[in-house]
């Protein structure tokens, strides 16, 4: 179990000049000992690169990686004592489950009795004790991933376990079982776990802290709640949540907000710079309101969908699309009608150049 500190950048070529030359833009990040983190972002955002830098499979072009304060930037994965679980199960086909789990320990010349005991403990934790003597190659994909995980856990002094989208090849109905197992293991062993995924549900349920990334940039780190309530970047607002945050281009001038030709009065306590801004508000916090109410925005309802647990209302104001999530028991507008949405409130966020202001 270790604390990992990153202070690095990774460029493709030797002389990076602009942002596009970097796989990972300069960042500084600390992963606390025993914490469960998720690296969340779309394909190509650099999360796997970051993971491979942490594990030692890749060396960063600039900067350092420290484990418990010790510089390990040039150290091999073996020396860092990490474990990595890949996108698809990586097991040794010719060995049994027990032999697979024992492999890392045998390579370190651990005495046989100790190996047996440790393998037993891990197998028990993964609920694979009954399959120890089976050929690993014959098992299902989720069992194989458990073996991959087990090989990482079997070393009692493993510094961190890194996951690279490990549930990709698992059947959907088994995914939640494995996720639950991972949480259980985290709870029991108190290991530092770092989990890469493009699925926000996985990230938000698994991790205590989520690092959202896009195009080589680490955009925000925080708990699920922080990411949801106050996204520091429009990308986070857009990526997290289902559906993502609504964004409306607005102009702030003299205490008023101009949205698609409409004028709304801003709260006195809110200090915003004048000019072009973006207003971000989650569909969950867009409320239906009456025509004359303060802060009411007239919209044209285009679609009303009953999702079951909520009702999704899609509306237009001018060229902009706005979505609202309403409780199923609330009064619903009909498609084609005009309605009024309340978009200003404590949950509304303002962005300039994609960054959060207030």
């Amino acid at each position: 179990m270790a604390r990992i500190d990153l202070d690095l950048a990774h460029a493709y070529g030797p002389n990076p000049k602009e942002d596009g030359d970097y796989a990972l833009l300069p960042l500084k990040m600390s992963f606390a000992d025993g914490g469960a983190y998720a690296l969340l972002g779309p394909s190509g955002c650099g999360k796997t690169t970051m993971l491979n830098i942490m594990s030692g499979l890749l060396q960063p072009s600039h900067g350092t990686v420290k484990f418990d304060g010790v510089d390990v930037t040039a150290a091999s994965p073996q020396a860092r004592n990490i474990a990595q679980v890949f996108q698809f199960p990586v097991i040794y086909d010719t060995m049994t489950v027990a032999e697979n789990l024992a492999f890392p320990l045998r390579n370190r010349k651990v005495p046989a009795a100790q190996i047996k005991q440790r393998v037993g403990v891990i197998a028990e934790m993964l609920e694979m004790s009954g399959q120890l003597d089976q050929r690993a190659a014959n098992l299902s994909a989720d069992a194989k991933q458990k073996i991959s995980l087990g090989r990482g856990l079997v070393r009692s002094d493993v510094s961190a376990v890194l996951f690279d989208e490990p549930l990709t090849v698992i059947d959907p109905h088994l995914k939640w079982q494995l996720r639950r197992k991972l949480k259980q293991i985290h709870h029991e062993l108190k290991l530092t776990l770092i989990y890469v995924t493009h699925d926000q549900v996985e990230a938000l349920t698994f991790a205590d802290q989520v690092l959202v990334m896009t195009r080589g940039r680490a955009v925000q780190v925080g708990s699920a709640e922080a990411l949801f309530e106050r996204p520091q970047h429009t990308f986070v607002g857009h990526f997290i949540g289902s559906p993502g945050m609504n964004f409306l281009p607005v102009i702030a001038k003299g205490g008023q907000l101009q949205i698609a030709g409409q004028f709304l009065t801003l709260d006195a306590g809110l200090h915003l710079p004048e000019g072009d801004l973006k207003l971000g508000v989650r569909p969950e916090y867009v409320a239906l309101t009456a025509a004359g109410a303060p802060g009411a925005l007239p919209v044209q309802v285009t679609q009303v969908q009953d999702i079951g647990t909520y009702v999704l209302v899609t509306a237009r104001i001018g060229e902009q699309v706005l979505k609202a999530r309403l409780a199923p028991d609330q009064a619903q507008p009909k498609a084609g009608e005009q309605a009024w949405f309340q978009v200003l409130g404590t949950h509304s966020c303002f962005y300039k150049n994609e960054e959060l202001l207030a």
Binding site: Q78, F88, I91, D93, N138, S140, A141, K144, D171
Partner: protein, 298 residues
């Protein structure tokens, strides 16, 4: 869903049909002809007598055939014993990417592309004491080398020629198999602290099993049927020291121009190879891990 069994789907036959037709066209009709000849005494195009299994019996009793068969077995086994390990080592040594990989690939594959009679000719020249590099070098080193006079030398030369000619086949198959191993396996092995030998034994060799099986069977079959190269190189000599089965068959068929016994011999020849390959195939399936019917190994 279980990944250890394949779904049954008879409609898959439609996918097989083109292959079946292509091969059956080339195989079944000629085969029928051969079977037809093998049970007849064709005295002249118009006079044929049905003789049943007479030819088969005669062929089986033939002492020369037994000797040729024995020579063939020794040859094929030697070929496998040298070419498979050598080919695997070569596959492991070839670079994985970059321009060096391309150059090495072309160089290694060259010997496969030479028409077999030219292969025989190259080595015939190569081994000669007067105009050949190998022949004259060996003589200068003090060896009384002669592939035309000495049976052992002839054997070794034919073997060396075959190794030179066909090892790249094993190497190319092995190489392609190695390239198909995802990087993650090597990464996981590094993380697990595996030694280079462990990587070979537990990752590379098992993953190469499929292609190696193809290589073993292919080399066995082809070496069992070898004709052109040894014929051009030694003519089967000295004496009949390097007369292998295929040449013996041709000698009988062409020399005696008797279609009946030749056809019978052909069928027996085929059955011998079939039987040996069948045994080899099943043995390899039993020994190995991943079967054709077992699933995908990630």
């Amino acid at each position: 869903m279980s990944t250890t069994t394949k779904p049954v789907n008879q409609k898959a036959w439609w996918l097989i049909l083109p292959v079946f037709l292509c091969v059956a066209f080339s195989a079944i009709l000629p085969l029928m002809t051969v079977v037809n000849y093998s049970v007849q005494d064709i005295i002249s195009p118009d006079r044929r007598v049905f003789v049943g299994t007479e030819w088969f019996a005669a062929v089986m009793r033939d002492q020369d055939l037994h000797e040729a068969l024995w020579r063939q077995m020794v040859f094929s086994c030697s070929v496998l014993a040298v070419e498979i390990p050598l080919g695997v080592m070569l596959a492991l040594s070839m670079p994985a990417q970059g321009w060096k990989a391309s150059v090495v690939l072309v160089i290694v594959a060259l010997s496969l592309l030479i028409p077999w009679n030219v292969v025989g000719t190259i080595w015939q020249i190569f081994g000669r004491a007067d105009i050949g590099l190998m022949g004259s070098t060996l003589l200068k080193l003090g060896f009384d080398y002669s592939y035309t006079g000495n049976a052992l030398h002839a054997w070794l030369t034919v073997l060396l020629m075959d190794v030179w000619h066909w090892t790249p086949l094993v190497a190319l198959l092995g190489y392609a198999g190695l390239r198909s191993i995802p990087d993650a396996y090597y990464q996981a092995a590094r993380i697990d602290g595996a030694s280079k030998f462990a990587v070979f034994r537990y990752i590379q060799l098992p993953k190469m099993r499929g292609v190696l099986m193809i290589a073993v069977l292919l080399r066995f079959m082809d070496s069992f049927m070898i004709y052109t190269e040894p014929f051009v190189l030694t003519g089967g000599g000295p004496g009949n020291a390097t007369t292998f089965l295929s040449q013996y068959l041709t000698q009988k068929a062409v020399g005696q121009f008797d279609l009946g016994p030749a056809a019978a011999f052909s069928l027996i020849y085929f059955l011998i190879i079939l039987l040996l390959c069948f045994m080899l195939y099943n043995w390899m399936q039993a020994v190995g891990t991943a079967d054709k019917t077992e699933a995908s190994h990630g």
